[in-house]
Amino acid sequence: MAAKTSTDKASFKPRIAAFVCNWCTYTGADLAGTSRLQMAPNVRIIRLPCTGRIDPLFIIKAFERGADGVIVSGCHPADCHYTSGNYHARRRFAVARDVFGFMGIDPKRITFSWVSASEGGKWAEVVNDTTARVQELGPFSAYREMEARV
């Protein structure tokens, strides 16, 4: 990561939650591990059976609990372990995008991607890119400020 001019930003360590499916992306992340691919340490994975299981509320909740960014990742469109779970997920998230905006969450803080079980390298990229992007955006403080006010 390139050093940022603002010291504030440079010292900021984003916290990113990743909701990933068990079959593709989780396994891809395992592969990144066995391949010893170094990546930004800011992402915390929460494992789910399928992206179809991911409720947009999980994402909002993660932001509420202090996440600065979120990654959602699962199987490639035609490769869903459950045939069509990720298709439903994609449709739901297309709608949810607007909701996130409405909830005051900059959609740039959320990464949707497809990482298959064999794409360890791609996973590392997703992690690094998202971290860099969120770093740039700065801390997600909207909810904390709101909470403080209420």
């Binding site: 992340a29 299981r53 991911i54 999980f58 045939t83």
Partner: protein, 672 residues
């Protein structure tokens, strides 16, 4: 749940080098509900596992978190360990601090902090875990095979030989499928009937195979291990238990001019008929649309127009009043092997997306035939006795043009895919033609020769090098009849020369398409199919003969264009899958399935719509008097695969996926 044990593994140096394991154990020990937290060099080693067991007993643990490698690596191991220690397997979970942490980071401080976080999530989640019992499903050790082509025959024989019963349902009067129509077969050129007939007879005689020819699947209910299938036995007009196949009835039938399906329209058959002499079962059917008696009855004629067959039948087997009957069969697994049909170039097509070939006359030019018709001409048992004679005037064609990729690889006509087998059978046809017609010239218009397979390319080369077939690379633009010949306007893209040929006969290698009616069958079985109607396999590489519905398998040309070796290999693979499934009398499944709270379920059935497996059913809640109170959703545990899509889509949060409940996941997120 409040008595949790945390076990942090060093994995030798693998974790310990970057993660301060002791610090992780220390931090987790301070979490509420954690009563025991230690680190150890190798958790999966025998002493490591012993540590867990001992701790369970000593600290009365009701939850175990192992912070170590990926759950894909050792979750099974540790779950077995806790089960041995006397607590439910599903009260043990792993935090992945190796693949997802120590191996991918260098900064010890950051890695340690991340390891603590990851472990904490799991600790919080496990507080909401509940004991689960594996689901046990009884298995009916009996299989249904739909379609009696070579694929269905092979599957039925392999399963039956493996010791299980099989019901084989074939919609035509005889089994055999398209292979029975072929003359000789690539790549070895052995006679199709000669190798097929013994297998058909074997099916007929097998003590564990129940053959239901002239029958169709009407309804399918249930799930893996427990299907109930209703089969419609179509009325033959002949009592199968009385008929001895003597064939007298066919001889006397006055309606002998009906185009024979078996001979692809080139031969004739009577109204009461067996499709071909080697038919299995060798019992005739009456084609009601063409029988004088039935036609008369349909017009309400007072007297039956003809009863010749009944009169001549010594066995009194003819039964004009026979009706369709329905039978139910209980089976544990199903094989779909319904095969293919050929694309027809006519204007009318059974699917709107597919159109015919106007530039080739929409099938109106005589002597433009398809591959199966050529097979019948080349077949010793065919209408010409194996002589290649053109249908219009019975002359021997001296120039035969073969057109490859007709319908196939032609998105403009509605089909994008390559039919895979036609390059081979056209090469075969040119060889057969070369052997049978001296001085004849075979000209093949092709785009590519696709002959991948053992001995396949050698085969096509033989057609070109030794059998004088002229291969021209290009598609034909137009064909029309001009007097006695068919004008073929083509182009050789290799030389840049136009090829205008006067052909005596043209053979079209038309595309392989799934059988008509495949979609409705697929819907009955809730298996998915592609836009052309081919049945989808569960995974193109790793689960090629399973479908996305557990217990339903697929073999042969109904899945994609397949030649005989492919079809047979798939069939045997389904048989071994099914025999594996049947090897136990009960199926055991992970209990990670969805469950509906019928108290709160609003009956919106979003879940039904999104479930990829059709696992959610409608359930009628009734009061004690039997009055319907409401209809709610219910998950069939035998069918659910645990993807959780239903849960994420339920507006009233009434369906929960065991092992990944909202409570569990929110607990983990809350620990963020």
């Amino acid at each position: 749940m409040s008595r949790i044990g945390v076990f942090v593994c060093h994995c030798g140096e693998n974790i310990g080098r970057t993660v301060d394991c002791a610090a992780v154990a220390q931090a987790c020990g301070e979490l509420p509900g954690v009563v025991h937290s230690i680190d150890y060099k190798y958790m999966c080693s025998d002493p490591g596992q012993a540590l867990v067991k001992q701790a369970v007993a000593e600290h009365k643990l009701d939850g175990v978190v192992v912070a170590a490698c990926s759950p894909h690596m050792h979750e099974k191991t540790f779950r077995k360990t806790v089960a041995n220690a006397g607590i439910n397997r599903f009260l043990c979970e792993m935090a992945n601090v190796r693949e997802h942490c120590s191996w991918i980071h260098e900064d010890r401080e950051e890695a340690t902090q991340k390891a603590i976080d990851l472990t904490r999530f799991i600790v919080e989640k496990i507080k909401h875990n509940v004991p689960l019992e594996p689901i046990k499903i009884p298995v009916t050790r009996r299989a249904l095979v739909i379609g009696g082509g070579i694929a269905g025959i092979q599957a039925a024989l392999d399963i039956a030989d493996g010791g299980c019963e099989v019901v084989l349902v074939e919609k035509e009067p005889s089994i055999g499928g398209h292979m029975s129509q072929l003359s000789e077969t690539f790549p070895t050129l052995d006679c199709s009937q000669c190798i097929l007939t013994p297998r058909m007879v074997e099916v007929y005689q097998h003590p564990r195979i129940k053959l239901m020819a002239y029958a169709e699947v009407d309804k399918v209910e249930g799930y893996i291990g427990n299907f109930t299938v209703t089969v419609r036995q179509k009325a033959r007009g002949v009592n199968a238990s009385l008929c001895n196949g003597c064939g007298e009835c066919q001889k006397v039938c006055p309606n002998k001019k009906i185009a024979s399906e078996f001979d692809a329209g080139l031969g004739k058959r009577p109204a009461i008929y067996v499709p071909f002499p080697q038919a299995v079962p060798n019992i005739p059917v009456i084609d009601r649309a063409n029988c004088a008696l039935y036609k008369g009855r349909a017009r309400n004629a007072k007297k039956d127009a003809c009863k010749k067959c009944e009169e001549v039948c010594g066995r009194k087997a003819i039964d004009f009043d026979q009706q369709d009957t329905f039978l139910t069969e209980k089976v544990g697994a199903i094989v779909v092997a319904t095969g293919y049909q050929l694309y027809n170039i006519k204007k009318e097509q059974d699917k709107e997306a597919i159109s015919g070939y106007g530039e080739y006359g929409y099938g109106t030019i005589p002597d433009v035939i398809d591959g199966l018709q050529f097979e019948r001409l080349a077949s010793a048992s065919g209408p010409t006795g194996g002589k290649i004679l053109r249908p219009s005037d019975g002359k021997e064609p001296k120039t035969v043009v073969f057109l490859q990729c007709i319908g196939s690889r032609d998105p403009a006509k509605g089909i994008d895919y390559c039919s895979k087998i036609c390059c081979m059978y056209i090469a075969k046809h040119t060889m057969l033609y070369h052997h049978k017609v001296h001085g004849g010239q075979a000209i093949v218009f092709f785009m590519d020769i696709r002959a991948g397979g053992k001995g396949y390319d050698e085969f096509t080369r033989r057609a070109i090098e030794e059998n004088d077939a002229l291969y021209v690379r290009g598609r034909v633009s137009k064909m029309y009849r001009d007097g006695d010949v068919i004008k073929v306007l083509g182009f050789d893209t290799l030389s840049g020369e136009p090829m205008h040929i006067d052909a005596d006969m043209v053979v079209l290698a038309t595309a392989m398409r799934p059988q008509p009616g495949i979609e409705s069958l697929a819907q009955k079985l809730s298996v998915s199919y592609d836009r052309f109607g081919f049945i989808n396999e569960a995974h193109p590489k790793l689960r090629p003969v399973e479908t996305n519905t557990a217990g339903v398998y697929v073999a042969g040309a109904c899945q994609a264009p397949r030649d005989i070796p492919d079809a047979v290999a798939m069939a045997s693979a389904t048989a071994s899958k099914i025999l594996g499934l049947f090897s136990a009398s009960e199926l055991e499944r992970e209990p990670l399935v969805a469950q509906v709270d019928q108290g709160t379920c609003a009956g919106c059935f979003h879940c039904v719509r999104v479930c990829p497996y059709g696992a959610v059913e409608h359930f009628e809640v009734k009061d004690r008097k039997g009055n319907l109170i409401k209809t709610v959703a219910q998950v069939n545990k035998g069918v659910c695969q645990g993807c959780g899509t239903c849960q994420a889509n339920c507006p009233s949060k009434s369906v929960e996926l065991q092992g990944f409940t909202d409570q569990q996941i929110f607990a983990a997120i809350n620990a963020f």
